[in-house]
Structures are given as C-alpha cells and as structure tokens.
Symmetry: none
Subunit: 204 residues, 4 copies
DNA sequence: GATGAATGAGCATTCATTCAT
DNA sequence: CATGAATGAATGCTCATTCAT
C-alpha cells in the first residue's frame, strides 16, 4: 500500500510547481501584490500545502530568489574562472549574463528588476553568505589581473559597476519592455565597452 | 481684503509635508509596505487631508516619483547641453548624477533603488511624456557627437547603458548600504570609464 | 451697499437648488448612497453652504421628503373633499394620484419607491403630525359615506389599502421602469376597480 | 473513513447563520446602514468567514433576497395553480400572502418594505429570471380566466396591482408598526375586494 | 452667507496564517 | 501530506461634519 519507487515524489513536483507559480506571480504583479491565494491558483495547490512546504510567504519568496541567484552565480563564476586572460574573461561574463537572461526570462525579471531587501527576512543570512563568496571570487579574479598589469588599478568599489553596470542597465530596460535583444551583437558591444574601460592599454 | 500676501499657503505646506513624509516612508519600508496611516503619522496630517489633496495612495506615489525625477532630469539635461565637447559632457553628467544623489539622498533611494512600473497607474502617461523628452534630448546630443566623430558608432540601445550603467550600479550599492562615497575620486574614475568606452580615439 | 429689493434672495434660490439637487441624487442612487459632496456637485453649492442652510444630511432629506408629501397630500385632500358623492371622490383621487405622479416624476419616485423610516430622524414628529391629519381627513370622508350607506362597512384598516393599494402598486412598477403609463385609461380602470371593491351596491 | 453521514455540515450551518443574521440586521437598520461587522456579531462568525462564503456584502444581500422571494413565489404559484376556479384562486393567494407574512415576519419586512433595485448588483440576472417566470405563470392564469369570461378584461398591466396592491399596502402598514393583524377576517375582506374588482359578474 | 481644507471615526474588503478533518 | 474553512488584524478609502478665512 505504500508508494514504491517514485524517485521524484509528488512532493518534489508540488514544491517545484509552487516555486514556479510564485515566480510567475511575483514578476507579473510584484511580491507584495501577490497573495498566497494567487500562488495557489497558479500552481494548483492548496493553502495548506503551500504552508506545509514553505512555512511562510517570506520563506517562499526567499526560496525563489535563492534558487535563481544560485544558478546565475554558479555559471557566472564558472565563466570567469574558465577564462584564459582578462579580456576573454570580461567578454565571457558579459556574454554569459545576456545569455542567462535570455534563457531564464522569468528569473531574470525577478532577480534584476527590483531590489529584494526586506523580502529575504530570515533568509538574509543565507543570501549574504552566497553574495559574499560571489563577490570574493570576482575580486580575486580582478586583483590578479590588476596585479599582472592587464587591468587598470581603480578603487575597489568601481570594478563591478564598470563591468556589469552597462549590461544590467541594458537588461533592465530589455526586461521592462518585452523586446528580445539582438544578443550576439549587443554582447559584443557591451563587452568591448567594459574592456575599454577596464583594460590597461594606454589611451588618454 | 483677505489673504493678502500669504505667499505659501498652508495648503502648499501641507502638501509638501505629505510628499516628504511619504518619501521617507516609501524608502524606509517600500511603497506597498507603507500604509496611509504611516504617512499621516510621519507628516502630521489626517487621512482625510491626504486624500483631499492626492486622491489615492497610487496618485501620491506617482506625485512623489514625478516630483523627484523632474528635478533630476532637468539638471541632467542642463549639464549635458552646457557641455562644450563630448568628453566634458560625459564627465559633467556623471559628476552631476553623483552629486545629485549625495544632495538628495532620499529621492535617490526612491528613484534609483527599484523599478516603479505598476505604481504609476493613471499617471503613467505623464511619466512617459517626461521620459520621452528626456531620452530624446540625450539621443540628440549623442548622435551629434557620433556624427562629428568624437563618439564611437554603436547600436542606439547601448549608449545610455554604457554611459550611466556604471554610476547607477555604483549608486545602487552605495544607496543599499548607508556609506558615503568618496564622490570626487569615484566620479573621476567612473567618468573616465564611460569616456574610454564611448570615445572614439583608437585603442584596441 | 445692501441688497435692496431682491424679493427672492439668492438664499432662497440656493436652498431650492440644493433641495432639487438632493432629490435628483436620492432617487438616482438612494439616500444612504448619496454623499453630501454628490449633492454639492449637483447643485453647484459648497459643503459649507449646504450645512449652513440645512444643518445635516438627515434634516435635508427630511426637508425634501416633507416638501414633496405636503404638496401631494394637499391636492389629495382637496380632490377628496371637492367630490360630490363617494364614487366621484374615489375616481377623483385615483386620477389625482396618477396625474401627480406624472407631473412630479422625481418626487413620485422619491416618495413612493421606498419606505422612509429611519431617515426622518428628528423630523419624524413633523411627519407624524402631517400624516395624522391626512389619515384623519380621509377617515372622516370614508365614515361619512359608510354611514350614509354608499360605501360598504369594512374593518377600518382596510379602506386605505383597498383604495390606494392598486394605484400605488401600479405606480411603483411604472416608476421602477421608465415607461410612461397611458394615464387616462389606466386611471379609469383602477378607479373602477376601487369603486367595485368599496361601493355598496349588492353583488355576490 | 471520514465524514460519514454529516448530513448538514458545519459549513451549511455557518452559511445559514450568516444569512439569518444578515436578515435580522437588514430589517432592523436597513441594508446600507448594516455593517459587515454587525452581521458578524449577530451570526457569531468572523469577517473572513463571511467573505469566504459570500464574497461581498452585495452578494450576501442578494442571496438573502433570493432565498426569501423564492420561497414566497413557490407557494404563491402553487396556491394559484391549485385553485379550481377564479374566485377560489383569488381568495387563495390573498390568504396565502397574508399567512406567509405572518409565518415569515422577518422575510416579509425585508421583501415587502422597500424596493431592492440597486442592491442586487451582479445577481440581478438571477432575480429577473425568477420574476419573469413568476409573472408569466400569473399571466397565464389570468388570461385563462379572462378568456373563459370569469374575469373582466382589463389592460394587462393592472391585473397584478388590483389583485395584490391592497394586501401589499395593508401588509406594508402592518409591517411598519409591529401590530399583529386579525388575519382571518382581514384576508376575507381583502380577498372579497379583489374579487369584486376583478370578477366579471355585472354590477355597475 | 460662502468656501473648501481638515478631521477622524467608520467601512468593506483582503490576506497571511492556523488547524481540524 | 492535502485540503479549505476559519480567523481577525490591518488596509485603503469615504464621508458627515466643523471651522477658519
């Protein structure tokens, strides 16, 4: 009478359905504006079930956020660390960022459209840890290339803005409208821009 | 015989108080998370008064937003159009942006921390018009300098991200923590980065 | 400098405008559902003015009601007392009722569509007195004709319902829809019905 | 294994309690003047529960109305159609009407004291359908007896007013005061009145 | 008399969360 | 684990009324 051998139980499917339902709701109406009942309808689950699996709206939102950012960051770091030199690293991560956005449109909207302070609640710790490691790895990479002279020496705070600010800004706009970007060419131009700003070949 | 010379009526003061109270609340807890009652407490006004003057929470939020963005954009365009050449224009607007953020910390948090789609409601039209003119003026400036060869020719969509993405990203971070930036030097570095990305002197 | 010789001052006009504005609002949305502000808009007056002249919403509603019912009752009693015999009295008041409804459509809706208990508040006394006299006069008329044998002897409570119930019911329906009745013929049929019910010629 | 044979679930009881609580409130203070909180107190339920089951105040009011009118109309039609001739039909429905009022005093006040246009909102359709069938059945009955010559031929619009106007008017008065009528005798007199007005035996 | 800003209690409704089944 | 009825605090908003000008 027991369920034998369902490797991925219904439980897992249910959880996934809720997470995706929540994501859909969050991006189409905002986190605060999404009610538990909205999520239940979208994911064909019951209030009780949702609470059984996630405990609270806040924890569910955090779960959604972490799920996405983890995937994003893992690929990002991989792209960076797989690079053979500074220039290819910069081109790599910009291309990666754009591709990730195109491949995960819902997550992209959720992660990059708004700030998420205040919604992480108890899970803020987990997020901070994640971000700490992420920033750390990026910094290590940067400092290595600054030390070797391939990247210009700047105030530590500006590396990430200069590297990612333009793509982020571009994506934020792309994500607000519904319009698909011509990734290939845009990636090239944005990456080149970052490289021109960060690389150390003398100019001025 | 009445009301001679009350330059700023109580009505105006009341409205300003409400707008500023709302701004304070919005940035410290978020728009959705701010209740009308919060705003009333903060601005020492009554529910009725708030509604008498603004009609709804949505319209109030829109008013707050428009008030801020109008001031920001006016100065921005001025800085751009006052520039004598492309390089000084770029350095000018970056410096302007950072200075505006430091001078109007609350507005900066409100305007630059989150997207505001969905909170403009009926006022979206007014905002679109405002943004339209703003983007237009910037485009005109850019195309002029591209035509004259001082700026590189790129896809139209990437100019603004490359110009402002880094400062925005920097500011977003600065605004999340509470830490005052070393504006002077940071402005210089961010402006130079933008110039290196956009200027047409051959490098690569 | 004083207003000389305005027989009907602006004050009177203002009061009339408010009463009629209120009546319009009351019949189109209901008393409770009509706000003071609605009435002000409809009558081009200010809140303050309305309160200056009428003191409260309740008193205004009462004034509107009394104004109407007084006019109605005066004509009714006149029609009754001017009659030469029972039959002509009955035909007279039924015709009067229908004509009054057609001539004062707004008042008719207001007076005959709903009960007005609870809205008279302090003015209930005035209304009771008015109704008392009205019912009294009708009763006197009835009893006279019962005594003289032209009208059947019935329980006192049923005379008015039998006399007016049908027209009231007819009017209530006519007033709910917007459809003009063929007064002439309908009046004849309804009056005859009342006469058949009340008159004493033997039948059954 | 669960819930065997709970004929009337708690849910049903809860709904009934709310409907009756609402009815009580509506007749004692009016629909608009009754607050949701009043109904909750009267019915020992919570706001949330009320909204869970009825969706809105308007829908609840409609439900209360429909519940009552359905019961009233069903019995009315039955009394009419069970009659063997015109006269017994008329006497039957008048008696039925009065008896129903006495047996369901709260419903009677609610149904017959005020017009309910405007409070049905979305449910107006359901009501119109109900009323349509009701009026239809009555008309069929009337036309049958007119055709066979037992009832006088009149304009279609006046049959119902003449038949029911007097009782309605009588009941409306009875319902405004709290005084119990001497049903038996009154029913007789009102029914006779209707019969005298409608029946075709020559008189005048 | 006229005006309309100000007040704050009150209202319908929503919603995260709990819990019995 | 799943369900959905129940809860009640909280929210945005309305409105009769007051009062300074």
């Amino acid at each position: 009478m027991k369920k034998l051998n369902t490797t991925h139980s219904n439980t897992d499917n249910r959880k996934k359905a809720i997470i995706h339902g929540a994501l859909e709701c969050f991006i189409s109406t905002g986190i605060s504006e999404t009610s538990i009942s909205d999520i239940c309808k979208k994911s064909n689950s019951s209030t009780g079930s949702l609470y059984h699996h996630f405990g609270s709206k806040e924890k569910l939102a955090a779960k959604v956020y972490l799920e996405g950012i983890q995937d994003y960051q893992k690929g990002f770091v991989h792209a960076l660390e797989a690079s053979t030199d500074a220039k290819s690293g910069i081109f790599g991560v910009i291309a990666y960022h754009l591709k990730w956005v195109v491949d995960h449109p819902a997550w992209a909207i959720f992660l990059f459209r708004e700030r998420h302070s205040g919604f992480m609640g108890q899970s803020e710790h987990e997020l901070h840890q994640l971000n700490g490691e992420f920033v750390n790895k990026i910094s290590v990479w940067f400092f290595g290339h600054v030390a070797s002279g391939t990247l210009r020496k700047l105030k530590p705070d500006v590396y990430q803005p200069i590297l990612l600010g333009p793509v982020q800004e571009y994506v934020r706009h792309y994500v607000s409208c519904a319009h698909k970007p011509d990734i290939k060419n845009v990636a090239e131009e944005l990456a080149l821009a970052a490289w021109l700003s960060l690389g150390s070949e003398q100019k001025e």
